[in-house]
């Protein structure tokens, strides 16, 4: 089915199941420990043995020698796969650095060997017996240095993405009020709870990978390319993922090594990447340096706005475009948004939840707060005053459906914004300095083609099969809701099978496109199945209705079960009409913090997000997506930073104690309000994603609240005590 034009009224506008808060259908399995994650498939491939990964101890250079003898003769060892003995593997479009390195090493903890043994303990012990020597090269590990060099040597910029509208420089120079500030954000880690894990088994030339992957079709294509085999001979199965956040968009070396090791050992092999390897072996979010310049008149009307972002990556890698949201957020006829990429020899940087926009908001939304203060204006009124009619970076593009102003107004009312004191450092409760902050949020609403197969059995039960994944987002439940609604059955009568590459190719989970895209694919398959049912019954497909397990047409009624078994498959695709629109999701984010006047410790007391993201398919799970994103944003604002060793080129704090993500005690009261909006441009369900919208803005709201509480503006994230306390007012 092709979506060719914005839709009018649909069955979802009178929905009984879609749009209603619904408990996860996978909840009983997850809470009882029965949901099978990748490493836990004792039910498949008998005779599984264990693989253990060895990572490079240098960041750049080559392996001089590897002594494998001791490892090979260690108890229980079945095979040792080493970089020095393995022909180079194929590459894929989905990875920048080779997943299995050697002899050249392109980043720290790049995999260089894998030991397979009967038990995990034996594999681990034997891996420690491999002796590797290296020829280490010097590398470039400092983003601030490459950016400094790029100022005079443009060859240091390896790619750029620049969008201009009008003449920013002249308009900025002429502006009565100017902001020109630079913000820095650190490298961050996805740090999902389940490390990368795969069980691989061969049957002849056919390979099955039980793995943890967000994008099944991409993963299958990548494995085919890396192993130089037809993708038809590869099956991926990933029904449950212990989180991904972009880190599992791509297959990682656990899958590659499990496949190689299973072949070498002649046994199914299971590998879970050791937690300590994940930070340097796999991808991370790029650090950024962002310069924001805003020129406004004395009333706060923005005339010129520029947001430029610098990041670094391995040769051939992509950038972190922190300026992305600034193309859509505020009116300003003369604008410039740009992302510049330099080269670093750190591990590969790649997509993490709201790539670009998540760190981008930490700059632009603080700059707006700084502008408001300079103008003596309320920061909400400043934003409302500069609400654009069309896309500021390309005024010929319309917004599909945008209610950012309403988000700000509803949020202000609900949060009690009127009680905020605009002069910083004026609210004191005992030892605590208290402040409030606000930020706007924008994240693109992407939509991807997505397929599904929907079947009715002889009992009238519905089953849905699609290679869509549920990474905690609630895909199982919204897909079941969609199928139940379309086929007129109860939610309990729908079963959902996800993550298997034998099923139709879906949009997968990424870029907050999953919910809108995958449900549209299920809808397309259901429309086809309904047509087949009416044809079988001799009903008019235009007038037949499906409800309560029955199919009605004029005066005739038959049970849906009478049509089974019957199966339909379809894929939803999209027409070019969407190019006329900027499809986005919008939010206002609020935070109240208390800062210890003596120690500089920041406590988040309250957070609120007001979201405009089209139809909310399942308010219960959508709210969870948003509060979870707010937690991750709190981490980005206050604690999360991969510390770079700039001498040897690696992330030092590569474990869950050193890389500090928020814990229970860090998070106060959280509220979410969904505006009841519908976006008919994006897809038939009129829904958009929220999972990344939720991380776009809360960090800036926290930073602005800290400023409001203390009068200290820290522009170098995370806002840790050491940076804050030096500037804090005297206590006495």
């Amino acid at each position: 089915m092709k979506y060719e034009a914005p839709v009018g009224k649909t069955i979802f506008d009178d929905a009984k199941i879609v749009g209603k808060s619904t408990r996860r259908i996978d909840g009983p399995l997850k809470t009882s420990g029965m949901a099978p994650y990748a490493y836990e498939r004792h039910d498949v491939a008998s005779g599984q043995v264990y693989g253990y990964i060895v990572g490079s101890a240098i960041a750049k250079g080559r392996i001089a020698s590897m002594d494998l003898e001791e490892a090979r003769s260690a108890p229980g060892v079945l095979a040792v796969i080493a970089a020095t003995e393995t022909d180079p593997l194929g590459s894929s479009n989905f990875n920048t650095a080779p997943l299995f390195g050697g002899p050249e090493i392109t980043h720290y903890h790049q995999a260089i060997a894998c030991v397979v043994a009967e038990t995990f303990e034996q594999a681990r012990a034997a891996a420690a017996l491999i002796r590797t020597t290296y020829d280490r090269d010097e590398g470039e590990y400092s983003l601030s240095r490459t950016v400094e060099q790029a100022a005079s040597d443009t060859s240091k910029i390896v790619s750029e993405n620049v969008v201009r509208n009008g003449d920013f420089e002249s308009a900025f120079a002429a502006a009565a009020v100017q902001i020109d500030q630079t913000y820095t954000t650190p490298d961050e880690s996805h740090a999902m709870m389940e490390p990368f894990a795969t069980i691989a088994a061969w049957e002849g030339d056919k390979l099955t990978l039980w793995t943890s992957n967000q994008m099944i079709a991409w993963g299958r294509a990548a494995m085919a390319s890396i192993l130089r085999m037809p993708k038809e001979n590869i099956r991926l199965d990933s029904p449950y993922l212990g989180g991904g956040f972009g880190g599992k968009l791509w297959v990682r070396v656990d899958a590659v090594l499990a496949a190689l090791a299973a072949k070498a050992a002649g046994r199914p092999v299971k590998i879970m990447m050791q937690r300590a390897l994940t930070y340097n072996n796999a991808t991370h979010r790029h650090a950024t340096i962002q310069r924001v310049r805003i020129g406004a008149d004395k009333n706060g009307k923005i005339a010129a706005i520029a947001h430029e972002c610098w990041s670094g990556n391995l040769t051939g890698g992509m950038d972190e475009n922190g300026a992305a949201q600034t193309r859509a957020l505020y009116a300003g006829p003369d604008n410039l948004t740009a992302s510049y990429l330099t080269e670093l020899d750190l591990p590969e940087a790649n997509a993490m939840r709201a790539p670009g926009e998540a760190p981008g908001h930490l700059a632009i939304e603080v700059a707006m707060d700084e502008l408001a203060e300079q103008l003596g204006m309320d920061p909400i009124e400043l934003r409302i005053l500069n609400e654009p009619e069309t896309l500021p970076s390309n005024p010929s593009i319309k917004f599909s459906d945008r209610h950012l102003v309403e988000c700000l107004r509803v949020g202000a009312e609900s949060f009690g914004w009127a009680n905020r004191k605009s002069r910083p450092g004026t609210v004191r409760e005992g030892r605590w300095m208290v402040g409030m902050g606000v930020a706007a949020g924008y994240r693109g609403a992407l939509i991807m083609k997505s397929g599904a197969r929907v079947s009715i059995d002889a009992r009238g039960k519905i089953s849905v099969e699609t290679d869509m994944t549920d990474i905690g987002t609630g895909s199982y439940t919204i897909i079941a809701q969609t199928a139940a609604e379309c086929m007129g059955v109860a939610l309990e009568d729908v079963s959902v099978d996800l993550g298997d590459s034998r099923s139709p190719v879906s949009a997968g989970s990424g870029g907050q496109w999953g919910a809108a895209s995958s449900t549209a694919g299920v809808y397309a398959a259901c429309v086809e199945l309904r047509r087949m049912v009416t044809e079988k019954f001799g009903y008019d497909p235009e007038t037949a209705s499906f409800a309560d397990g029955m199919v009605r047409d004029a005066n005739v009624v038959r049970a849906l079960s009478e049509a089974g078994p019957l199966s339909a498959e379809d894929t939803m695709t999209y027409g070019d009409f969407q190019k006329e629109y900027d499809m986005g999701t919008y939010a206002s984010h609020f935070a109240e913090v208390a800062v210890d006047a003596y120690t500089g410790e920041v406590r988040i007391r309250r957070m609120l997000a007001v979201c405009d993201a089209g139809r909310i398919l399942n308010p219960l799970t959508a709210r969870s997506q948003v509060i979870g994103a707010m937690v991750m944003a709190a981490g980005a604002a206050l604690t999360e930073e991969l510390a770079v060793d700039k001498r040897f080129g690696f992330f030092v704090n590569h474990d869950m104690a050193g890389y500090e993500v928020p814990v229970h005690a860090d998070i106060g009261q959280q509220s979410v309000i969904f505006l009841d909006t519908l976006d008919g441009v994006i897809a038939p369900l009129k829904a958009k994603g929220v999972g990344e919208l939720g991380i776009c803005g809360p960090g800036a709201a926290i930073a602005n609240a800290i400023y409001n509480a203390t009068g200290v503006r820290v522009r170098d994230y995370p806002i840790t005590v050491d940076k804050l306390i030096a500037e804090m007012p005297d206590v006495a």
């Binding site: 009882s32 229980g76 989180g243």
Partner: protein, 207 residues
């Protein structure tokens, strides 16, 4: 239960470890001449979810891997294997522990409760039910650890054990929001379901 286990003293273990080190090449040679699986194993017996289980384990096997790999009780999760994330939390003799931080052979005679022992999809524990109702999870990977931790944590409050945030040590401790959040902070949820987890625990704590 193995008498051998009980007779091991710390001093004895250290001495024998040193001995093992000095004869390591000999052991390797022997292992290599045996079957490829020739691992040294020790017997251990403990109770898991009310059932006595006897295992012969490589002494390096953690309680976590004994549960996941040997007893195939995969509800207990491996998140970090370093005691940093809490995903592997189980209840041993009524106390919550990180099962990745203790060796299985240390648990001879112990009573271990895992998520599978708390409830099943058809017969859920009240906390499992509350997690579903409040959506106290997303990816679900930290969830068994959160639930096991919460069950034991409520027991700690009931026994009057204070925490870092307990205001008045002379009064009975109660399961306030801050007490619960403080005490649950060893269980990381990267999906960020903390508010919903707190709501689920509050439901059960209030009865």
């Amino acid at each position: 239960m193995s008498d051998w286990n009980l007779s091991v003293t710390r001093r004895g273990l250290l001495t024998s470890s040193a001995a093992v080190l000095s004869i390591a090449p000999a052991i390797r040679a022997r292992a290599a001449s045996q079957s490829s699986a020739g691992a040294t194993t020790l017997p251990v017996t403990f109770e898991v979810n009310g059932q006595e289980r006897m295992l012969r384990l490589d002494p390096r096997t953690t309680l976590l891997d004994a549960l996941r790999e040997h007893l195939k009780l995969t509800g207990t999760k491996k998140g970090c294997d370093h005691g940093q994330c809490g995903a592997c939390t189980v209840i041993v003799n009524g106390e919550r522990i990180n099962s990745c931080l203790s060796l299985a052979v240390q648990h001879a005679g112990d009573q271990v409760t895992t998520i599978e022992g708390l409830g099943t999809p058809d017969d859920l524990h009240p906390l499992q039910e509350a997690f579903i109702e409040h959506d106290g999870y997303q990816c679900g990977y930290c969830t068994p650890g959160q639930i096991c931790s919460a069950v034991a944590m409520l027991g700690e409050i009931e026994r009057g054990i204070p925490s870092h945030v307990t205001g008045d040590l002379s009064k009975a401790v109660s399961a306030t929001n801050m007490e619960v959040r403080e005490r649950m902070s060893g269980n990381i949820c990267r999906c960020g379901a903390y508010s919903n987890i707190a709501a689920a625990i509050a439901d059960v704590a209030e009865g």
